[in-house]
């Protein structure tokens, strides 16, 4: 059954969209990530224009993050002050990202930049995660190895404007969280992602936050940053396709709940290896598209260059 998307102006199979939403939702429930980094490239592959895929992807991330954060709030695993500091940075980054996105669209290089960002970030994160998990698995099999200290002091702790974050048990400068928030907000606007896959490692390794509050806090701030991004794209470029968003969300929320069920039955390290392989797979696919000679060298965009 085909459905016509009013903003994207194309007709797509209804069940394909529900399926994409469902699969991505399943993975997001399984791994505790927003899934934006998967949904946006998948929308590219089925022929949704990049600008619409990015804006609508952000809208979908709002839904999956809301669904995820509610469970975390119940467990008291959200550090609200930290969330607000990250958010302040995030909004600035997102506004900058939307502006930059519009400039790139005008220059005809938006596809390239989005694809390069995906290859770079997914590749880096995927490799790091894969390495970490393999090391962790090996250590688990061979007891008695060195144990990593959860809280180490580094250069981050020497910065000014210190603030207490009770839930995280931290007393650190607000500058690093602001910067992390801004970077993630920028990426959210350009890549149509929540940025959890960058935020989570940054919170653990850079800010030294305890793992139990990381996912909840990251989800909390992602809701607002992606909501802001969606709104900015809707207002500046009219690129949010509500019909597309509703179908993706519908498939996504159902898939996420099933994924969350399944995740309880797998080991954390195994999950992370699977996730890292998935991330690397997406990165490799996009990289190949850039490196191989395309079958059609020419692309057509309605409208004139400004």
């Amino acid at each position: 059954m085909q459905i016509f998307l009013p903003i994207a102006d194309i007709s797509v199979n209804l069940f394909l969209l529900l399926g994409i939403g469902g699969v991505v939702g399943f993975l997001s429930g399984l791994f505790g990530v927003g899934g934006g980094f998967l949904i946006t490239p998948l929308l590219f592959f089925i022929g949704i224009p990049p600008t619409i895929a990015v804006a609508t992807g952000a809208n979908q991330v709002v839904a999956s993050s809301v669904s995820g954060v509610l469970a975390q709030v119940k467990r008291k695993a959200v550090d609200f002050p930290m969330g607000f500091v990250l958010l302040a940075g995030g909004l600035v980054g997102s506004a900058g990202g939307v502006w930059f996105f519009a400039r790139l669209t005008a220059a005809g290089q938006v596809d390239l930049f989005v694809q390069l960002s995906y290859v770079l970030f997914l590749g880096l994160i995927g490799l790091t995660m894969f390495w970490e998990s393999v090391v962790a698995l090996r250590r688990a099999n061979r007891p008695g190895g060195p144990i990593r200290r959860s809280h180490t002091h580094n250069w981050v702790h020497g910065l000014p404007f210190k603030m207490k974050f009770r839930a995280s048990g931290l007393y650190i400068s607000v500058l690093p969280p602001l910067a992390v928030g801004a970077l993630v907000g920028f990426l959210a606007a350009i890549m149509g992602v929540g940025g959890g896959f960058i935020m989570v490692p940054a919170m653990i390794y850079l800010l030294g936050m305890p793992t139990k509050v990381v996912i909840g806090t990251s989800l909390f701030q992602i809701i607002f940053v992606t909501a802001f991004t969606t709104l900015m794209h809707a207002v500046t470029a009219n690129t949010v396709d509500m019909m597309l968003a509703v179908l993706l969300i519908l498939g996504g929320v159902i898939g996420a709940q099933i994924g969350a069920q399944v995740s309880g039955r797998l080991k954390a390290e195994q999950l992370r290896i699977l996730l890292s392989l998935l991330v690397l797979g997406v990165a490799a696919k996009i990289a190949l598209d850039l490196l191989l000679r395309p079958s059609e060298l020419y692309t057509i965009t309605p409208g004139l260059l400004p």
Partner: protein
């Protein structure tokens, strides 16, 4: 009386001087793009009306259907530092979003170049590309690419010899409008040619519009972008909350 009417017709329409004109109709003159729109098929039918015995030479029909035109930017990818990047670009003043031609014979046999120029019938003629040679080294290649890409998308179609005459004067043609249709006014032109010369032409219009939910969402996204954005967010929040609430209920 009949003679008076005939005289009036003869003076009113130069085409009638040849003694032949077209009468034609469309199966529908509006197409609604609704949520389940999968494309549409339009039947164009007509007949040649003669007021005098047929002159010598083969009679042919050319039918064109043209969608709304927009300016177009065509970009070409080139290999730079190992990756394929958009480099050169050419701007084309106006190209139809849809263009289909159906004929009774090969275009080169049934239409002279002069008549093609005058009536702008073939696909390259329907695209208005003025002053593109200054924009890139090999600008015509960009034009070819535009036609090639749009043909692959099913937007540009040339169906020579797809129209047949029955009983010498009746003809019909089915034009398939694809699912990825741009809304606007579609112009149907029917040309009657003899010996490569256009004897008569008529024009009909098809109004293609988004309807219902499609129309509502599209208009709101343009007229009330802030409200539209907020509504999109509201749906997302409700769906997210609803899913976790429903899941909790199911767990119990």
């Amino acid at each position: 009386m009949i003679r008076a009417a005939l005289l009036w017709l003869l003076s009113a329409l130069p085409a009638l001087a040849a003694g032949e004109d077209i009468v034609a109709g469309l199966s529908q003159n509006r197409v609604s793009i609704t949520a389940d729109f999968e494309g549409s098929e339009i039947l164009i039918y007509g007949a040649v009306r003669r007021t005098a015995p047929a002159p010598p030479g083969a009679l042919h029909v050319i039918i064109t259907v043209e969608g709304p035109s927009t300016p177009i930017t065509v970009r070409k990818k080139d290999r730079t530092a190992g990756i394929w990047i958009n480099r050169e670009s050419v701007q084309i003043a106006s190209a139809p979003s849809f263009y289909a031609i159906a004929t009774t014979g090969h275009l080169r046999d049934i239409l002279t170049e002069t008549e093609n120029l005058r009536h702008q019938i073939t696909i390259p003629r329907a695209i208005r590309a003025v002053g593109i040679s200054q924009q890139a080294e090999n600008a015509p290649e960009f034009l070819d690419a535009l036609v090639r890409v749009r043909a692959a998308e099913g937007r540009y179609r040339l169906n020579e010899r797809s129209v047949q005459f029955t009983q010498g004067t009746l003809f019909r043609s089915d034009v398939v409008l694809p699912a990825n249709l741009t809304e606007g006014l579609y112009v149907v032109r029917i040309f009657l040619t003899r010996d490569g010369q256009v004897v008569d032409r008529i024009e009909r219009q098809i109004n293609v519009r988004k309807e219902g939910l499609e129309r509502f969402l599209f208009n709101m996204s343009r007229d009330q972008p802030l409200i539209y954005g907020l509504l999109s967010l509201l749906i997302a929040v409700i769906a997210g909350y609803g899913a976790s609430a429903a899941f909790r209920l199911m767990k119990r």
